[in-house]
Amino acid sequence: MTVERIVSEAKDQFPIGMRVLAVDDDPTCLLLLETLLRRCQYHVTTTSQAITALKMLRESKNKFDLVISDVHMPDMDGFKLLELVGLEMDLPVIMLSANGDTKLVMKGITHGACDYLLKPVRIEELKNIWQHVVRRKKFDRKDRINSDNQDKPHADSGEAAGMGNADNNVKVNKKRKDQKEDEDEDRDEDGHDNDDSSTQKKPRVVWSVELHRKFVAAVNQLGIDKAVPKKILELMNVEKLTRENVASHLQKFRLYLKRISCVANQQANMAAALGTADSSYLRMGSLNGLGNFHSLAGTDQFHNAPFRSFPPSGVLGRLNTPAGLGIRGLPSTGTIPLGHVQNSGHSSNDPNKLQSFIPGNHNANILQGLPMSLELDQLQNNKGVSHIGELPTANSSSVFPVPGSLMDARITGFSNNPILGVTSNSLMLEGSSQQAALHASNLRDGVSAIGFQNGNTLSDFASIDPVSNQLRDSKADLQGQATSINCNSGQIMTSVPQEWNASIPANGAIIQLDQCLDQNNSIFHRTMDSDSIGPMSFVDPLSIKAHNSAMEPSVIEKEGYLMYQSRPQGNHIPDNIGSLEDLASAMMKQDQDNGKPAYGNFGHNSYSHRACI
């Protein structure tokens, strides 16, 4: 059979020739699956690595119709892959597992799987999987028509969508579809595609940093609960952006926030540890999940609660602080935001303690989660925290390197030492000038690299809204950062307990702080992926300035933990990574250098503590 014939036959004889990508680390199962699929007359490609699968999918978006993936894989959690595929490629994904636990199945559904099969797989089941491809295409069209739905905030619809019934499928599909839509900057009006054939792919809106910033600002202004796509759209005032785009982005954003808040809860103590007195920080702090940061005791109050409700100003606003991710560096002046925070009410606030502080700031928390530190470095011109190395263990007080001057903080690559190598830069959320005086000294020591050990990596970057200038205020910065970090830290913290040698499993992705984060604008929007979730869509990697060398965290996932490894290399994080995709690819690239997967969102699979989902 010639290739051409195959191709045309494939199109005409669907489901025959449907292109399936099968991912499973177990070679026995993979071979079996491949054979079964071929028996069904599908066109099969197999890989035993999730990373490779993603790469293949990214290489050419239209190469596959469907993805089947195992849940338990060593290099990446199946759920994470599921999310990423859903977000980036909007392909139907079927989960496969030997474990048929209801909870797992539910998890699959909430992450967007269109089906969940149990091993050993039977050919009868595989014979029908093509329905998911068709359904998606059909519903894509329908979703466009139902624009009303998008007016209502239904962030949870995707999550709650069960796969079982059509309605849910519609929602899920819509979510997927929306995601696709979102990515197109020049997306045409929805209406155009309504009549198109089901194979039509809509242009995607790319949520660049700028765009996302505007989005977050609009949401903040309206208040998260009242933010409806229409109003957001009006506030944003961006040409060619449709309500649908905004709606789906909002949905993802909500999901992201939800996840963060779950994480935040867990991180309550972490937040406290961070000791940022600043309430806003605390909120963020809660996200920090840096349990280790005892010093953040004062932040308890902030935990969770604020976050949960998604205080617009706090979380997002702060996020936007110059540090963008807060890593910007603590105010260079001696008043480290941290100190600032500390005054606020940190009970155990001891500026010198900063132990768990992220360089001087709550940011510490943030840092933990976010590889942001990487960027911070750059911002600050410090060596920058190349990556958030290990998050300090709970015990190590100085773990959290809060670079006093932010400059020093350096995040070294993975090291086993639990020092959160948050470079001052990174941690400094605030404007760069501030030094993390706070515990500069303390921090310095500690922060060498926030390396995550054991593969704990910041899976997601918390989305950080571009923090407005107010962030200059350390609090703001911290918060912003905290949030982002929180997300990560939360995750990290939780997972840390066990073995972490102080590496905080950062589920988050590498937070790339835009160098220009300085003050406010970097919208670092990363979804905190606490657990294999983390819609990348929220991630708005702050453009990493060229000098952002530090930020190259490579994420290595080990046993479910993503290890964030920052590589102090020149910045190879491209500036203005607008889309999640870019971010992911940037990260991937980085990883590739290291041979490790780099993902913005790292679903942290083994993170059993995940509270949400």
């Binding site: 177990d26 026995t28 071979l31 597992s97 091993k119 050993p120 797989v121």
Partner: protein, 149 residues
């Protein structure tokens, strides 16, 4: 040896394996997937299974020898072994993995060690049985006959 006799021997042997639960209907599925396009499918898959299982068993042994046992890791390995054994139809291995997992959950070291032994035993048993089965098949094929379904 007489071809018919060989064939009968194969059928009986195979039936006994099912009967004793060494194999289940998943193995039958595997055989059904084998055809002229894929003539060695079963042997291929089973060989992969052998390789992978041995690796897993080694990992398990190592993991359980540690001072401080990482049960999550142990569980992950057992889970994988369970998955692959179920995929080829090695029922007894699969069942012993289930018990193993329970002990992992309970973090019961003794229980785990016992289960590991059991799993290993079952594995070697099914391995030798399958190898005998394949040998019989090979003999039949060499004698010019076909494998009875």
């Amino acid at each position: 040896m007489d071809l018919v006799k060989l064939q009968r021997q194969l059928v009986d042997y195979r039936d006994s394996l099912y009967h004793e639960c060494f194999l289940d209907e998943q193995f039958t599925q595997l055989q059904e997937l084998q055809d002229e396009n894929n003539p060695d499918f079963v042997v291929e898959v089973v060989s992969l299974f052998f390789e992978d299982s041995e690796r897993l068993l080694n990992e398990l042994t190592k993991a359980l020898e540690q001072q401080s046992i990482d049960f999550k890791r142990v569980d992950a390995h057992v889970h994988q072994l369970k998955g692959s054994s179920s995929s080829i139809g090695a029922q007894r291995v699969q069942k012993s993995c289930i018990a193993f997992r329970n002990y992992c959950e309970e973090q019961n070291v003794e229980g785990c060690l016992t289960c590991l032994q059991l799993v290993r035993q079952e594995y070697y048993l099914v391995k030798s049985k399958l190898e005998a089965l394949f040998k019989l098949e090979q003999q039949i094929l060499s004698a010019g006959g076909s494998i009875p379904i």
